[in-house]
Amino acid sequence: MDKALYIAMTGAKHNMRGQTSHANNLANSNTGGFKADFSQARSMPVYYGAGMPTRAYALAELGGTNLSSGTLDQTGRDLDVAIHGEGFIAVQGRDGQEAYTRAGSLDIDSQGILRTASGLMVLGNGGPINIPPAQKVEFGEDGTISVHAQGQTAAALVQIDRIKLVKPDLNTVSKGPDGLFHILSNPAGSTLPADANVKLIGGSLENSNVNAVQELTGLLTLARQYEMHVKMMSTVEKNSESAARLLQLNA
């Protein structure tokens, strides 16, 4: 069979994978704190010595994550926080390791532990943050948590802990399979130091940074490319049919 068939096939296959990545971005266009993934394709030439290098397979890959900020949505809820500019909130991932997120819709569970909406513990100066029964919880710009404890006067505001905010070098940050951000080069178990320059905004949430129009056009472009690959495949099929006809004795 003509090798062109397989080359067109990898093109079509990886177009579909690229589309899946766009579809995932679109599916998360309303997920708070979500960061869109870039997808790209790379040519992987097959080297077979001297001669014309015609065989180059396509390879879809994620070129990284778009870490730009999403728009801020004012919710007015005490336990909603968003990060202004660069930075992440440190949480304990499901594997027990420190991971980072931008989704700041927080909750206090029945034991008083501060958690994200997906149930992960938010980390403070020394591990998980315990909030005493409070009438009102306030988050300062640097992550400081002040609590107006129940039964106390408003003057007796207590500072209890500080949300760990980090500002890693964005080149080292990558999205893990759990949707949280991890530091690429760091060995397992190591953590980043807290950064006092990260700005937290209370009463707001960060929306998804997915640009829906861009994703949709990307998806449609890939759909047209895919049709071209299919056209190539059918051309190869016709070629092979004509070749077979030529060789038939009583054509």
Binding site: A12, M16, R17, Q19, T20, S21, H22, A23, N24, L26, A27, N28, S29, N30, T31, G32, F34, D37, A60, E61, L62, G63, G64, T75, G76, R77, A103, D107, I108, D109, S110, Q111, G112, A117, S118, G119, P133, A134, Q135, H148, A149, Q150, G151, Q152, K175, G176, P177, D178, G179, A212, L216, L219, L220, A223, Y226, E227, V230, M233, S234, E237
Partner: protein, 261 residues
């Protein structure tokens, strides 16, 4: 089959749930003591198709891999216990909780539920009940010859009986608070029940220990912000349309390949 089909299906499901939440909030925009819900989304797991940094030859490695996300899901709905505005009704049996706290209500099966809806009524025996006829806990009976009923900010209920110079105290409205009110389970009829994540009920006198005060002759409006819900409805609808566009594109691609090969 095309993986994008399943990914955008999760997107459609999530937007659909979001729209139901918005519709319920809007439907309850004038329900007394209603607390709005918010659907919280999360990105599902990622599948690693190709590990970043894998060796392509002995000397070279792939600079980036391929991780494909499998879509979005609704992790849950969050009740937002921000306060609604107070509305003056001048009804002596209307009470609003100005601040934290819930009114304990005895359900038909004897268990306790909690509400922020303070539209109280009297039943045949003169006891204070909700609009559904469920008893307020502890029960407060108003004498049948009472002229006026006064409820103080600390929950003390006094009745002025005709012909008697001094008003008599007939009971106290208690309030109950929870560590995590967002963890309460809404069971409809404006009632909430305790769950493992809400924590144990903490009883107290209104106006003390951080509990709100009781305001007689007022009701707490629903905390639904119509404009916010409308904006959310627009974004939800458009996100739904785009996800369904992905489904139709994936479908056309599959159709194209079956027809052309």
């Amino acid at each position: 089959m095309h993986a994008a089909l399943y990914v955008s299906k999760t997107g459609l499901t999530a937007q659909d749930k979001q729209l139901s939440t918005i519709a319920n909030n809007l439907a309850n925009s004038s329900t007394v003591g209603f607390k709005r819900d918010r659907a919280v989304f999360e990105d599902l797991l990622y599948q690693i198709q190709r590990q970043p940094g894998a060796q392509t030859t002995q000397e070279t490695q792939l600079p980036s891999g391929l991780q494909l996300g499998v879509g979005a899901r609704v992790v849950g709905t969050q009740k937002q216990f921000t306060e609604g505005s107070l509305q003056v009704t001048e009804q002596s049996l209307d009470v609003a909780v100005d601040g934290r706290g819930f009114l304990p209500i005895q359900q038909a099966d004897g268990t306790t539920a909690y509400t922020r809806n303070g539209q109280l009524h009297l039943n045949r025996e003169g006891q204070m009940v909700t609009a559904e006829g469920l008893l307020l806990q502890p029960t407060i009976a108003v004498p049948n010859n009472a002229n006026t009923v006064t409820i103080g900010t600390d929950g003390t209920v006094t009745a002025k009986v005709l012909g008697e110079p001094e008003p008599q105290a007939i009971g106290t409205i208690q309030l109950v608070d929870f560590v995590n009110p967002a963890g309460l389970q809404a069971i409809g009829s404006n009632l909430f029940v305790q769950t493992a994540s809400s924590g144990e009920p903490i009883e107290g006198t209104p106006g003390e220990n951080g509990l709100g005060q009781i305001k007689q002759g007022m009701l707490e409006n629903s905390n639904v912000n119509i404009v916010e819900e409308m904006v959310n409805m627009i974004t939800t609808q458009r996100a739904y349309e785009m996800n369904s566009k992905v489904v139709s594109t994936a479908d056309q691609m599959l159709q194209y390949i079956t027809q052309n090969l």
